[in-house]
Amino acid sequence: MTVRDGGRARGVAATLGALTLVAWPALAGCGGPAGTDGAGPVRLTWYVYSEPSGSFARAAAACSAASDGRYTIKVSWLPTDSDGQRQQLVRRLAADDSSLDILALDVTWTPELAEAGWIVPFAPADARRLTEGMLPVTVTTGTWDGRLYAVPLSTNVQLLWYRTDLVEQPPQTWDEMIAAARRLAEQGRPHYVEVQGAQYEGYTVLFTSLVASAGGQVLTDDGTAVVLGEPAERAVAAIRALADSPAADPSWSTQRENDNRLAFEAGTAAFQLNYPFVYPSAWQNDPELARRIGWAQWPTLIPGRHSRTTIGGFNLAIGAHSRHRTEAAAAIECLTSRENQIRTAIDGGLPPTIEDLYTDQELIDGGYPFAAAIHEALRHATVRPRTPAYQSVSLQIAHTLSPPSSASPGRLRELRKTISDALQSKGLVP
């Protein structure tokens, strides 16, 4: 190595360095968030999942126009899956992001976000006005600690869908459903019961619906202690009864809502426990089959008592760091209004939360021939366990009772302990 080499090297280095320097400012130019404040209407950002029909975007535009220049709503899309939505939102909330004006929350997130101080409650008078005429069970999901944090935008509930050419009288109880499937299997006809069984949130929903239909609950009302008990044993027994019968789809343990729909459309099933999206889908993919689909209430576990399913849906909340809370509240009122709920229900297939819409002919003709059944299911419906630690609780339920064929009273005892740990944020989550 000589000094001369060093000189050469310096030349090379200088060239490379210059290259870097040229590139850098050009890049930095893309940085920096755009300013949001200024004259004219307040710009609100609405974080919501990218609903395929575009009904949310239309609602945002309609409300912006109707605000008389008070605000404009810019939609910021979130991923389609609920975990992805939650992660994106929480990451920004934890960072005190002031651009989170309006948040579309899954019904199970209210306690968690409220407890963390990331969303703000509505004043009691506003709360009453905003939720007037809404189904009480949907309002429960937006409420925590006696205060309304999120206004219901849409709801969802499962029905029992069945093939009218295979089943004359829809079964009323879980056992009747399995027995009917068994008879069909013996005749060599399509007989599967399509229901969610993969290790994920949908399986937790199944379990909590079964527990509720057996007259029990997973947690106490205040969400601080485990209940489970005898109804939970009946729920586990019901899962096992299906798993051990010919009615179970061989791929049950991997099935989510959409897999159920596909299997049902493929014609191998006689029953399906699923949300209403399966109905328009069947009309689109196989009208011949769609004509032969009937609907009934979810099967119960206690003969004579109505089944109690747990609801889904989205609520709208205001971010705690929003600089435009007043305008955000006004926008939420507009977005959850009657006209927008009808639009979202018809275009996007998301059932409304305003109760009397279920007898509204416009809605019924707009793709909800089963509106009465949904309404009935919603009136008996319940909610998933309400606790800030819901995510951990849900993961423990799905984890401990999976796969369905292994659910047992022993697993249930294990579950009692792991849920209890989760409630105290002890231990790892699976």
């Binding site: 190595m1 080499d5 060093g6 000189g7 050469r8 090297a9 030349g11 090379v12 280095a13 490379l16 360095g17 290259l19 870097t20 590139a23 890049l27 930095a28 893309c30 940085g31 920096g32 968030p33 990218s50 609903e51 395929p52 910021s76 899309w77 979130l78 991923p79 389609t80 899956d81 992805g84 992660q87 994106q88 990451r91 920004r92 960072a95 992001d97 989510r256 809502e257 959409n258 729909r261 596909l262 493929a266 949300y275 999206f277 328009p280 889908s281 689109q284 993919n285 196989d286 297939g349 998301l350």
Partner: protein, 299 residues
């Protein structure tokens, strides 16, 4: 991470003598055997890709028929994704971010690699060792702190915000690869050229640059693929179309309804983002192969 050895050899090859052919006459049986092996490799490498291609051409009604070859063909999945700025913008972001990161990584990496290969200084081993160790840090644990930091620096959801971590994780790879190459370059040739009357610039351009090029191209491709491939940073440090890359955008694809899996769109997107890499590979195949494997030549 590790084309390093590969490149070390490659560098060595650069110093070697001209190519010599061998194995001129092979028995037909052996030829057949190798050809069969070729076929198996090509098949195994291609089938999963062809499956994605097949899915991308299936109609919604036939996408769940489980058939390897589509029964009904459609271009709708491609039209669908190219209709949405969600995808086209993500493609632009992916390309831009990966190309800029690659250029910067090769530039910065070359500087450091040059120092490591040719200069003697204390802390050299420590530097490279630390860099590689840091590159092995579980990326998951960097996400939350980086998110906070980026917001303070106002580079969250920007190209720069992704380019920086990509540089961090690809620089160790680039430095290691390039220093292996540079170490094997016969720098004396440069002096020889100067003795023969060339100016230092000419000597560098005519003698050293061609020798360094294969290593730099190889490094560039490795880095590009790394950036192109990233998922975790992409989902964590972006929030809008401004900087969202394709792997992150896939989570935003929607099926026909809330619960429907957008299988066709994902498959079409998969094919589209595989194409640039294939083009790269085919265009530079000789270079990569020369860089990585000039093994037919030996010194």
């Amino acid at each position: 991470m590790a084309a390093a050895t590969a490149t070390r050899t490659a560098g060595r090859a650069a110093s070697a003598q001209p190519r010599r052919r061998r194995r001129s006459a092979a028995p037909a049986r052996v030829l057949l055997g190798w050809s069969a092996a070729n076929l198996v490799i090509v098949g195994v490498a291609l089938v999963p890709l062809l499956w994605l291609v097949s899915l991308s051409f299936k109609t919604p009604a036939s996408i769940t028929d489980g058939s390897f070859i589509p029964n009904e063909w459609t271009l709708e999945n491609y039209r669908g994704i190219f209709r949405q700025s969600l995808f086209t913008r993500a493609l632009l972001n992916s390309l831009g971010i990966a190309l800029i990161s690659t250029a910067l990584a090769v530039a910065l990496g070359s500087m450091a690699a040059y120092a490591i290969a040719r200069l003697e200084f204390p802390g050299k081993r420590l530097l490279v060792g630390m860099a590689l160790l840091i590159a092995m840090f579980p990326q998951i644990s960097l996400i939350s702190p980086l998110f906070n930091l980026w917001r303070i620096l106002r580079i969250f959801d920007t190209w720069v915000g992704l380019i920086i971590p990509y540089l961090t994780f690809s620089l160790p790879l680039a430095i290691y690869t390039l220093s292996a190459f540079f170490r094997e370059i016969p720098w004396d040739l440069e002096k020889a050229a100067q003795v023969d009357g060339a100016t230092p610039a000419q000597a560098f351009l005519r003698v050293i640059a061609p020798l360094a090029a294969p290593g730099m191209v190889t490094t560039a491709i490795l880095v590009f693929i790394f950036c192109w491939n990233d998922f975790l940073f992409a989902i964590s440090l972006t929030s809008t179309e401004r900087s969202r890359t394709v792997p992150a955008a896939i989570a935003f694809f929607t099926g026909a309804s809330q619960f429907a899996q957008p299988i066709g769109s994902i498959a079409a997107a998969a094919v589209v983002i595989t194409v640039p890499v294939l083009v790269f590979v085919l265009l530079f195949q000789r270079r990569i192969v020369a860089g990585l494997t000039s093994g037919a030549v030996k010194g």
